[in-house]
């Protein structure tokens, strides 16, 4: 059964230096509050896993929390580059960042394999691209029935999986709706999991399009109202598109980036932007 605990305690208990950590949320329900708590707790050498690193990993990378990134698309959606990510890759600032790069289909299937207790997944993907040349984690596999050659990728089973959701009940059952993305797979694939939620309610009344992750499949639940901002939680908050655009300027420069983190993440009483 999931324990409902404060965010700070959940992160302190679950996330250790050197862990592989997946903070997911495919363009919706991105767990910014949890990511900021990881920055506040000063974690180091994390292997960060995420399909779309987005602003949250730009911030973790810029603060030197990560030594490796496993991802499939590292941009600022609809805006352009992630400058802290690029600075780390192009100039090794503030620390060199090892990359393991996949396609979305490959990453999604790696989480599916992890959630399914399988060591690998099979897909029609990567063939003819230069991606297999950059990692040992993309290999050909032959169908034992047709002889056709396809592509295999290894399961992802992060030490810690962290997602945001709209609601949980007091027993720790989690409910989310809208774009459900890869949330369930990450929780089920991870060895330990944390779900931050907009609110904790007495009863999870059924909602169209909602999925429920039962409490017994989750390690911790923590209340984090607004915890997905500047991403959003459908029916609770709206996506702060202006901040995504503003981030381009903030993150372009190392000093303005640090100043923003100091003010909005590290300062006493700071709240997720």
């Amino acid at each position: 059964m999931a324990e409902v605990v404060p965010l700070k305690d959940a992160v302190a208990t679950l996330v250790h230096d050197g862990d592989s950590v997946a903070l997911e949320g495919f363009t919706h329900l991105i767990p910014f509050a949890a990511g900021h708590e990881i920055i506040r707790q000063g974690r180091r050498d994390l292997v960060l896993i995420r399909m779309t690193p987005d602003l949250i990993y730009d911030q973790l990378i810029g603060m030197g929390c990560a030594s490796k990134l496993v991802f499939s698309w590292g941009g600022n959606p609809g805006v352009g580059s992630l400058h802290r990510f690029r600075d780390a890759v192009e100039n090794g600032w503030p620390a060199p960042l090892e990359l393991e790069e996949h396609s979305h289909a490959g990453m999604a299937n790696r989480y599916v394999a992890g959630a399914s207790g399988l060591p690998f997944a099979v897909l029609r993907g990567y063939r003819g691209t230069d991606l297999p040349g950059q990692t040992a984690n993309i290999k050909p596999i032959t169908c034992p029935f047709t002889g056709e050659e396809l592509t295999a990728v290894p399961a992802l089973n992060p030490d810690v999986g962290i997602v945001h959701a709209q609601r949980a009940d007091r027993a720790g059952n989690v409910q989310l709706w809208g774009i459900t993305g890869i949330q369930k797979e990450v929780v089920l694939a991870a060895h330990r999991s944390l779900v931050t939620v907009e609110e904790i309610v007495d009863e999870l009344d059924p909602r169209p399009g909602a999925i429920v992750i039962p409490s017994w499949a989750v390690t911790y639940v923590a209340a984090a109202p607004g915890g997905s901002q500047p991403s959003y939680s459908l029916d609770y908050t709206i996506r702060d598109n202006d901040f995504y655009v503003a981030w381009d300027k903030i993150a372009r420069d190392r000093e303005t980036f640090r100043a923003w983190i100091d003010e909005h993440v590290l300062a006493e009483g700071s709240v997720p932007a």
């Binding site: 299937n109 691209t129 230069d130 991606l131 774009i179």
Partner: protein, 260 residues
């Protein structure tokens, strides 16, 4: 009625889409063109975004493929594994709409790195996103990208998504089920592969664009189709619909953001 070259490009791209087609759309120029088509001649066009929204009908242009408007207006919202495994991979999608940072003479797309070593590139681009499998599995692919020597290169620094590989027969050899890039729409004109060699050649020039200008903006010796034609100028209706669509929305990104 005057118009910009970006508007001409977007309208030319929208014209490629037909009513009832199922279209896998990336954010930015592809999303703008697909929604323009849906709001003009191609009512009933089915838009699929890789966030899992099938049949989305956004009233305004989403900044991100995860915009709430997409889920709220979709016929169905499915998980990310499902959108790639059940919907894209089997070849159910008619048209895949992609951008590019580099596009080579065989329609191969680079959205990964430019210059230097892969591990220490001169420019680190966003990466693959959904593009490799969109390029592999959609029945046909339309690429929309502004034309310049920096972008239209003899050989891509990195092949993120396969067009025609190194030429005829490569897609079949690789087992890629889709037909590959059928059309490339730029701010200068329209290209399509030579049926024999699969090399991209010019089929249309937009009004007022000279062949020389198009060649100067291309990193290989750009050939022309025998029936090289001029693109019809945007109609008032097309321009009005496009401007209504973009009015409420931040400018689209300048390069392939289909992953966002």
């Amino acid at each position: 009625m005057s118009y910009t070259s970006d508007e001409m490009m977007t309208i030319a791209a929208a014209r490629q889409l037909r009513p009832g087609q199922v279209c896998f759309v990336g954010i930015g120029l592809p999303s703008t063109a697909a929604n323009l088509a849906r709001n003009t001649h191609a009512a009933g066009l089915v838009l699929i975004y890789e966030s899992g929204t099938i049949g989305a009908k956004p009233g305004h242009l989403p900044l991100s493929i995860g915009d709430g408007i997409l889920a709220e207006t979709a016929d169905a919202v499915v998980s990310v594994p499902e959108i790639f495994n059940y919907w894209l991979q089997p070849g159910r999608i008619d048209v895949g709409f992609l951008g590019a940072a580099q596009l080579d003479r065989y329609g191969n797309i680079n959205t990964t790195v430019i210059g230097g070593e892969y591990a220490r590139p001169k420019v680190r681009l966003p990466g693959a996103g959904g593009a490799p499998e969109i390029a592999a599995s959609c029945r046909e692919v339309i690429v929309i990208v502004r034309q310049s020597r920096r972008t239209f290169v003899e050989k891509a620094d990195f092949i993120t998504s396969v067009g025609y590989g190194s030429g005829p027969g490569d897609r079949e050899r690789l087992g890629l089920s889709g037909a590959g890039p059928a059309t490339v729409i730029t701010d200068l004109g329209i290209m399509a592969p030579d049926p024999e060699t699969k090399e991209l050649r010019l089929t249309h020039l937009h009004p007022g664009v000279t062949l020389d200008r198009a060649r100067e903006a291309t990193g290989w010796d750009l050939a022309t189709a025998p029936d090289l034609d001029e693109t019809a100028a945007p109609s008032e209706h097309e321009l009005a619909a496009l401007r209504a669509l973009t009015a409420a929305t931040p400018a689209p990104p300048s390069r392939g953001s289909q992953g966002g």
